[in-house]
Symmetry: D2
Subunit: 292 residues, 4 copies
């Protein structure tokens, strides 16, 4: 297949590499042009605008950070939409709110372009190894058509519903990540204050009703191991929670815990921890509670 | 061993039965006397006061609902403390705040009585089958001394620290239960509003970063299966969160998410759902959001 | 002065009427054209697009509901910006977030157009009587130039800073409105549950440290008088709190209480109370707490 | 009248002085005996136990910090209840939860002793000048009987209902204080971040819908004046909010905003600001948001 890939950030670059490695013909675009070089050396074409990249591709992929960045590469005279025509498929790997995904799908539907919202999970490691989880919203036929592309970037590829459903699934997962993690961090600050043996506590909790993936992710390496570099960074979690709150607003659903958790993470961000691992929010909690 | 067991509620009664079945000599006391009859028929002695039950026992067990109920059976002329002397051991299976556990331990220490705070997890099913998890705080030697008793009621018995540590561990678990569950319920109300296929959503989430024991507990049987009877009831969760907030207050630790989650559960309780399974909080959320 | 007025809603229509009554030459535009008729009968010109209305005016006024509505009348080939040239002044009476106000000001600055963000307070009664409070952000000279216009719509006109400052002031006021009112409503639900005499309670509170304009606004007529029609409606308060949360996000400031208050108001909105007076949130609180 | 006064803290000492100055015969008791000396020099009798102080008095007054301190002076062989007989009146000036007030009233009712819960407002200045506000719960006749005593300590004396009503009124006021103040502080942190002129902001807000006594109390002297010593201290506000949350729990009413505000104040307390003026919570907010 002829693929265009727009957005070569921490996630997008390794994904594009895997698409190339799978034998697809690839044209890339990135705002900061230097990021295209490594892919060009591997055989990718480069384009000077999203429009140029998108022109003539079977599938156009985007992987950017926020809804505004998506609109920036999609719209306008140089945007990818200006280069696309009926029959092409647009796959958005970005994590955006479902309202954005649906608006994009509607704009394209009138022009005969299928859109799939396909946010990914699994981090930079999963992107590099091609083992991402991808939850995909949009037309079932379009989903099946892009099967080979998806196989190149991920392992667990699930079609979960119509336009926007992929984004909704992803953000619901992020809600649970944000809430469960904040609960773990608050609980472990208290545990330290109470003088508990955190290793014993962790051993008990992981076999108890309070167990969660976030407990296992956060406690050994970060809360106890005190390593707060790398992995999913705090400011991205805040971004995802903001998208989730936007989704809640649009769906007319209340989200009390995510709203409060978001404020807790923002406190940590305001103390300069935004580029640390999301578990670094415990550093702010400890500082704010006179512990460091 | 000669055992006294005070408090034959939903948890205490089957625990006492297992102690008896393990071959210990058992004397029971319960405020509502009729609840002693099934155990008397199985061979237990009955006592007319906590004091009478406690007199001469090797180990005195309590299993009541709240700190006030514990003080009610412990203090006063008919209380168990009035019947206990140096060398006896007191095992409190109730879930109370660590401050209560520590105060009880201090009162007893001056009189040569060891106290273990030993809250249990595993529900009425675990109590019936003798497979409870017990986290125990107090002196290590006392913990070892009561090994045969513990073996009769539970499977996973862990000594986790000094006086109050058992209560602290239990409440930290309950914090995670309360927060994780509230997050799941808010997320699934939103998912229903967004028209998602809840079965597919659950399948995706259970293999994602947002997975938790509460997700697996709540979603298939309760949120999707719509069965809200039995199991751990809502008003007990509220009670445990109140104890946890008290613990946070005493430990000078902030607990933003548990404080808000507690209010959400209370809304459900005020709509008459207190004796339903704790997952029934979703019924309140749905009603409050115009969905039922 | 030659004035264009775009947006003839509940607030805009009476404001436009007062501008006309003050002797200014007025051209109006409204999406729903029928709303222009009453003003046309009073002597206003009508325009078929925002662009047409804006062309040639000394001052172009906008008064719409949300940022998206502002961009809808401002941008595009029919938008007011297409009709404006250097030397004209744009006065936005809408309540929007300061980020929106600043973006609009920047866009216009390059073209020699002064923008004032001038959100109003005082309700439909104040709009009708020309006694609104207007907090104005933007260049001081522009503020002074539009003095006669402002005098026609309001009584208390304050220049509070540069571009966006008016919007910031307005939203900070709305934060206090939203938080203080939610506190009053939660307190009075509790008071009713506790069986207090609400009239006596109000008499005491209004001379106590807990007094606030919201207490005086909400309690006699609404909480006690049970009149929930008219006045500032709930869904506008939610809208303003959402703008305030956006402002907090942009300013990197945490807003715990507004975030939670917003969820409480949304619960009421989801029960169908969005078009009631904002104090109607107490009806939801009462219903959710088994009182009605 | 023959008056006993138990609890000579920051509030109790000047109140006792005013009672003495009004010509009543006064016997005082305080745990730290040295605090009785200034009153003894003014002509008060001193007692060595609450019981001794209470014996033979027409009215026994208490003014202590928390419910536990009230029970400590009331119960036991040396407690004031041991010294009181039918016909005496007990006036509790402490701020406690209504459950405590009601339990005390019930205990005394069976013995023919009237109890009035009479928490005071107005701070140490009001206590010194005898201008306190006193909201009183209990029997109307008892209230009228103690009129001369009340006249000695306060200016605005209101009978607000039966036993516990005084405590409920006081705590409802404290809910509004805690919520309104936290809203003001969060808003002004944001305002500083947004670079607003805080004096102009205050001038606008005090004539707007967002105005409150807390705004006027907090902003000029504390938020702008940066004076955080003296006045009502933070840890007392936390104590009062904890009592209010207990009251909400007992009344089965949700209190979302007070629950969150309490956590915000606790953050400030944990940073060592507990003995500062309650407005010092803004120092924690500023620090936690990278501003100091």
């Amino acid at each position: 297949m002829k693929i265009a890939f727009i957005g070569l950030g921490n996630m997008g670059a390794p994904m594009a590499r895997n698409i190339l490695a799978a034998g697809h013909e690839l044209t890339v675009y990135n705002r900061t042009a230097s990021k295209m070089e490594p892919l060009a050396r591997l055989g990718a074409h480069t384009a000077s605008t999203p429009r140029a990249a998108a022109t003539g591709a079977d599938v156009v992929c985007t992987c950017v950070s926020v809804p505004a960045a998506l609109w920036a590469v999609a719209e306008g005279p140089d945007g990818l939409l200006a280069g696309m025509t009926a029959g092409q498929t647009l796959v958005d790997f970005s994590t955006v709110d479902p309202g954005t995904s649906q608006r994009l799908a509607e704009m394209c539907a009138t022009r005969g372009i299928d859109v799939l919202d396909a946010p990914v999970s699994g981090g930079t490691a999963g992107a590099a190894e091609g083992t991402l989880t991808v939850v995909v919203g949009g037309a079932k036929e379009a989903f099946e058509r892009v099967g080979p592309l998806m196989a190149a970037v991920g392992k667990n590829i699930v079609h979960v519903g119509g336009p926007g459903a992929g984004s909704t699934f992803k953000l619901i997962n992020q809600i649970l990540v944000g809430v469960n993690l904040a609960g773990v961090l608050e609980a472990f600050v208290l545990a330290r204050k109470a003088g508990l043996d955190l290793n014993v506590l962790y051993d008990v909790l992981r076999t108890s009703a309070g167990n969660s993936n976030m407990l296992n992710y956060a406690v050994p390496d970060h809360v106890i191991g005190r390593d707060f570099d790398g992995g999913f960074v705090l400011k991205l979690l805040i971004k995802d929670l903001d998208l989730a709150l936007q989704m809640g607003k649009d769906a007319h659903a209340t989200l009390f815990l995510p709203a409060v958790a978001r404020q807790l993470y923002e406190q940590a961000n305001l103390l300069g921890l935004g580029d640390k691992n999301m578990t670094a929010a415990i550093l702010a909690m400890e500082q704010l509670q006179g512990m460091s």
